[in-house]
Symmetry: C2
Subunit: 155 residues, 2 copies
């Protein structure tokens, strides 16, 4: 049996994944209104809320919250990486080498770093995945390395 | 001169911070509507969107996106940790030992792990900060260790 998502992509089980496998794509525009709305709810700092209040800060201009970039990256991962059971992270290491700016269009490029069957739970395993998020100029705005739980293909 | 935030808390510069210093508090309720709205925008997976679709998944019930917990934690950090120049992260390591559930009330407890003046930029330094996010049962739902950029007190 081949499981499929609503979009008819075959779902990938632990047995289908290997080191070096890649996923990528996306074209998610981050408009100013979305940046300031996210900031007002979750990260209300001068450099995320408004052009005027951003002047004179470390960034000296309006930039997206790093957690907003992380959330958009998650959205792109869900759309582009069809793991059976969903993308369930136990931990993640995030770096933000440069900020996301209003109007930036984000895409992701992901690669599997490690595939490890669980010793204690034979029905699943752990997969380490690195995902780069880039803007339309090809500049990397975020790198997240996550360990996710992936089920083995049912017999 | 003592700088203050709008809430009249004195702002803390690199010179004011030391290893072991603690910050904490907060009482942020995460209601079901907020959990499913965040998921619809950023993490549209069955276990984040609806009670019915969550049944049979790894969680087997509706849980918040880990990135939603991270975003709420950022909100509490902005409210409770008055760093001059704002909280600007260069990187963060996040662990989610258990999920946030609908109705959970979150608080944070943060501690400074390291204070390091910059060699190349004498006007600033790097501070490593660990922040635990807990629910109303005292269970830790997230641990984030971040390196933030903090300005030195101006002469």
């Amino acid at each position: 049996m081949t499981s499929t998502t609503p979009g008819e992509r075959p779902l990938l089980y632990l047995d289908d994944l290997s080191v070096g496998q890649r996923f990528g794509g996306g074209e998610h525009a981050l408009e100013e209104e979305a940046i300031t709305a996210f900031a007002a709810e979750f990260d209300p700092q001068p450099f995320h809320l408004d052009h005027a209040t951003a002047v004179g800060t470390l960034f000296d201009r309006l930039v997206a919250s790093g957690w907003h970039t992380a959330a958009v990256t998650m959205r792109l991962q869900v759309e582009l990486i069809p793991i059976a059971g969903g993308l369930v992270g136990a931990s993640a290491a995030v770096e933000w080498p440069r900020p996301t700016l209003p109007g930036d269009v984000l895409r992701i490029d992901a690669e599997i770093l490690e595939v490890r069957p669980s010793r204690s739970r034979p029905d699943r395993g752990l997969v380490r995945l690195v995902t780069e998020t880039s803007n339309q100029r090809g500049e990397v705005v975020q790198v997240v390395t996550a360990t996710i739980v992936v089920p083995r293909r049912p017999d």
